[in-house]
């Protein structure tokens, strides 16, 4: 290899990998701050449209539903659970990607995670907020929802710990609190950076949030230890949350629900939709925010794409497992249910689910070049999200149609759930947009840390990239 080739190779590697393309920290800081401050009129237009949508779709509709009762939604006998629970499962699923990326990849020291951990963690927290909205919308008497919390009372009556819903509530509360804390801890140094770089009201805002962080050895040590504990501990919490969500269904004595594979099946499903959402968000962030093309590069889409492919295969595996067990059992109700899934009026959804979740990811993501194309991977991510939403829709209202009392079978038709669902979606986007103006979306110190650890090394004639463990 000639000197020239060598140089080109290195240049190529540098272009490709963020970690090999270091910029001075100050410059990176400025880039991130600039991306936060640069707001076009389009942003505000979208922001206000979404705000109006949230006000109508979420708050007005929900208020109306609280006043009039769930009759204005589409739930009925036997589909007592409808889109609200679909959305709950969906949003919890979305929230799994953040933890997956920042905790599991941190534990496994996957370096490409560095620039987008925060973007993913924000999804966790904001997704869980929407899940919370959805589950409270679902309740018939939401104003009494505090009865579900364990609190001492005069009647000495506590929540029923036999109920999967109580487990669910505990798990989601744990998850929401811990993922929010896990979002906040690595954010502190960046908030301190933002504090140092801002003026005016933002200065005060960051001053309060940065808690007086300076970067002393002690602070870094505590933070590092805490983040380590979080990274390890939040993984089982994350798995437990979606497993428990699946138990909401699997504990019921219903055909199609009572399945022991539901736990892992739901976890992998959650990761599937979550990863899809992450690429989608990254694609949008990269496309719309200033300076993001430096931080988020095709290599990241490539990395996530590989993960998506793996997860998609895993999902296919668990889906088949579930299907095979149900099919083989030959229970007459389950047989009717499977038939209903495929041949019933919502059969299109069943096939769309398989196409979006399996066929399309497998067809696109095996190719490195396609995988590195942000818009393409983002589109696949979007389709996977449709597919996974369909999956939950099939599991909940469509499967609920079929029970052991055929006299009651009835198809579910959504009502006010549609504005409410769109309202939660709009609220999610709105929160994300607001956060993108207020919180450094790129964890600069982590990027710098990574860049410090990476270097070229020559083995014979070959130049390779090495990473040294700093911790």
């Amino acid at each position: 290899m000639s000197e020239k080739q060598q140089h080109d190779h290195e240049k190529h590697l540098r272009e490709e990998h963020l970690m090999l393309d270091p910029l001075p920290r100050g410059q990176m800081n400025d880039m991130v701050m600039e991306s936060m401050h640069t707001t076009s009129w389009k942003f505000w237009a979208v922001f206000f449209i979404l705000s109006a949508f949230v006000a109508w779709g979420l708050f007005y509709s929900w208020g109306k539903m609280i006043l009039e009762g769930l009759g204005i939604a589409g739930v009925n006998r036997p589909s007592y659970w409808g889109i609200f629970l679909v959305n709950t499962v969906f949003w919890i699923g979305i929230s799994h990607a953040g933890t997956f990326i920042s905790a599991i990849l941190r534990v496994f020291k996957a370096e490409f995670r560095r620039p987008f951990t925060r973007a993913a963690e924000l999804m966790t927290t904001f997704g869980l907020v929407q899940a919370g909205f959805s589950i409270f919308m679902h309740m018939g008497r939401v104003w009494l929802s505090y009865w579900l919390f364990p609190y001492p009372n005069q009647r000495e009556l506590w929540p029923n710990f036999h109920s999967p819903l109580t487990w669910d509530l505990l798990a989601i509360t744990t998850y929401l609190l811990s993922s929010t804390m896990y979002l906040f801890l690595p954010l502190i140094p960046d908030l301190a950076m933002a504090r140092d770089k801002s003026t005016g009201w933002r200065k005060n805002f960051y001053k309060v949030l940065a808690l007086g962080f300076r970067g002393t050895e002690g602070e870094w040590t505590h933070l590092r230890h805490a983040m380590n504990i979080f990274a390890w501990a939040i993984i089982p919490v994350m798995f437990s949350v979606h497993t428990i969500v699946s138990w909401d269904f699997a504990m019921a004595t219903r055909p199609g629900w009572s399945s022991s594979i539901f736990g892992p099946y739901f976890v992998i499903g959650a990761l599937h939709s979550g990863m899809g959402a992450v690429v989608l968000v990254l694609g949008v962030v990269r496309g719309t925010m200033k300076n993001m093309k430096y931080f988020i590069r095709p290599e990241h889409f490539d990395g996530i794409g590989k993960l998506m492919l793996m997860i998609s295969m895993g999902w296919g595996y668990f889906f088949f497992n579930d299907y095979l067990v149900q099919w083989y059992g030959g229970d007459k109700w389950t047989k009717q249910l499977l038939h209903w899934h495929e041949a019933g009026p919502m059969g299109w959804m069943w096939f769309a689910m398989l196409i979006f979740n399996v066929v399309i990811p497998w067809a696109v993501l095996w190719n490195r070049k396609w995988r590195s194309t942000p818009w393409l991977v983002g589109t696949v991510g979007l389709l996977i999200n449709f597919g996974m939403w369909f999956e939950r829709y099939i599991i909940i209202p469509i499967s609920l149609t079929i029970n052991r009392a055929p006299f009651t079978w009835r198809l579910y038709k959504p009502g006010i759930e549609i504005p409410l669902s769109l309202g939660t979606l709009a609220f999610f986007i709105l929160l994300y947009m607001a956060a993108s103006r207020l919180i450094p979306l790129i964890p600069v110190w982590e990027v710098q840390e990574g860049q410090m650890a990476h270097e070229f090394k020559k083995f014979g004639r070959e130049t390779v990239v090495t990473v040294s463990e700093l911790e």
Binding site: R25, H162, M181, L223, I229, F230
Partner: protein, 174 residues
């Protein structure tokens, strides 16, 4: 009686800062009287600094224990306050209790970890502190507490070691 002074030396790179720490120690400054402030996490061995003590893991374990106790109480004690029979199950069956105990343990552990950071780092801390904003641009600063007699000596040494600036650190609102 000598006046105590705080000096803040800012370095562009890690290595000169580490050398400066070494030199300071030679000048008779105890490790307790200096600290390194940085924009990226640097470990103690990189700077040749003594091991940093942290309570966070202990606090976390303590929180986990409390959480577990709460979980056990919720699972086995609370249901007996008002015994209600459901679905032919025992009042407080073990399998669901495992779930409750697990979640409460994890919640206790993570909450206390978070609190541990606050306790150990004295967060939130809005009092005036010694600081220069350049640190967040990736620079390394050494904060030295010394007597005013040593001030020039140390300043010169730092300058020699490549400090970009050495200044009288004045505590300020960040």
């Amino acid at each position: 009686m000598t006046e105590q002074k705080s000096l803040l030396a800012v370095f562009h790179d890690l290595e000169p800062a580490a050398d400066a720490v070494e030199q300071l120690r030679r000048l008779g400054i105890h490790d307790d009287h200096m600290s390194v402030i940085s924009g990226v996490p640097v470990t103690e061995p990189m700077l040749g600094r003594p091991h940093q003590w942290t309570n966070v893991p202990r606090i976390a374990m303590g929180g986990a224990a409390i959480g577990m106790a709460v979980g056990i109480a919720l699972s086995f004690w609370a249901p007996n306050m008002y015994a209600i029979r459901v679905g032919g199950q025992p009042f407080a069956p073990v399998p669901p209790a495992i779930i409750v105990i697990f979640e409460m343990t994890m919640l206790g552990m993570l909450l206390s970890t978070f609190l541990g950071v606050f306790l150990d780092s004295f967060f939130p801390n809005y009092r005036p502190l010694h600081y220069v904003p350049e640190i967040s641009d990736g620079k390394f600063a050494i904060l030295v507490e010394c007597s005013s007699m040593d001030e020039t000596k140390i300043t010169d040494m730092m300058k020699k070691m490549g400090a970009e600036s050495v200044q009288d650190a004045e505590a300020q609102h960040l």
